[in-house]
Symmetry: C2
């Protein structure tokens, strides 16, 4: 919910996310295969949203469809989100319950924070209803400066 300290110990975050993913896949009867697990781990290890080809390189000997298929799986099961502005992917902080992706993206350090704010979704829904529009998915991406990077600005 809040912005991650860039110097915090990220290991436990990754471990916790992987465990939650295992759990969620069990619950859903989905198979978190080795490749999918490795891609998810790489996504989490990265402090910033990471692109498909960066993942590909990190994986080593794979071809594009391999990583895109893994990403499709992780997206379908709500374990990651796609950042449309960046063509990049980031771990979901709240897997297991459906929610629209809402992100704060620091244009300085690249860090991303996931919001989970019902009032944003509500505001969009209300505005949409005024047009008779039925919302089925929602992208909210705010670009700006994280707390750490505001200090460093001139």
């Amino acid at each position: 919910m809040s912005f991650p300290n860039p110097h915090h110990d990220h290991g436990p975050c990754v471990a916790h996310a992987l465990e939650a993913a295992e759990e969620e896949c069990r619950r859903r009867g989905a198979r978190l295969t080795d490749i999918r697990r490795r891609v998810l781990e790489l996504v989490w290890r990265s402090h910033a949203p990471i692109g498909a080809y960066a993942l590909l390189e990190a994986l080593g000997k794979a071809a594009p469809p391999t990583v895109y298929r893994a990403l499709d799986f992780l997206l379908a099961h709500g374990l990651i989100h796609r950042i449309e502005k960046l063509n990049a992917f980031v771990g979901c902080a709240h897997p297991g319950h459906a929610h629209p992706g809402q992100f704060l993206l620091c244009r300085q350090c690249g860090a991303a924070a996931e919001l989970n704010d019902d009032s944003i979704e509500q505001a969009v829904r209300v505005a949409a209803e005024h047009s008779g529009f039925l919302v089925t998915s929602l992208v909210v991406e705010a670009e700006g400066l994280c707390p750490a990077c505001q200090g460093q600005q001139a």
Copy 2:
């Protein structure tokens, strides 16, 4: 603000948009050259968000940088918006005063409607402030079904 009727006479919309663009460019001391004007007209003629390469084809004898440069100009002067989810562009309904792009995108017919709802922006700003984040630009893209397409669904 409201969803456009797909059968309305679009000619006047396009003409009005081009006139408003001329006016806005005059005000800003910016040059709406022939290519830029043609790209803007093509964007407006399309009822749905249109991609750079579709514009390129419609232009005829141009190369990619030509259309991307025109799009950059139109974006910079607030005459069009980019739809991140679609890698496509759409005319701005309210040029001349700065605002974040907020769109309703019909997944059935492709139509797009621009919102101009302060409460959405406010909700994001408030949530961001709770994280100490300073928002400088905002993308809101809701996918779903427009009024016309809801009727046609099973």
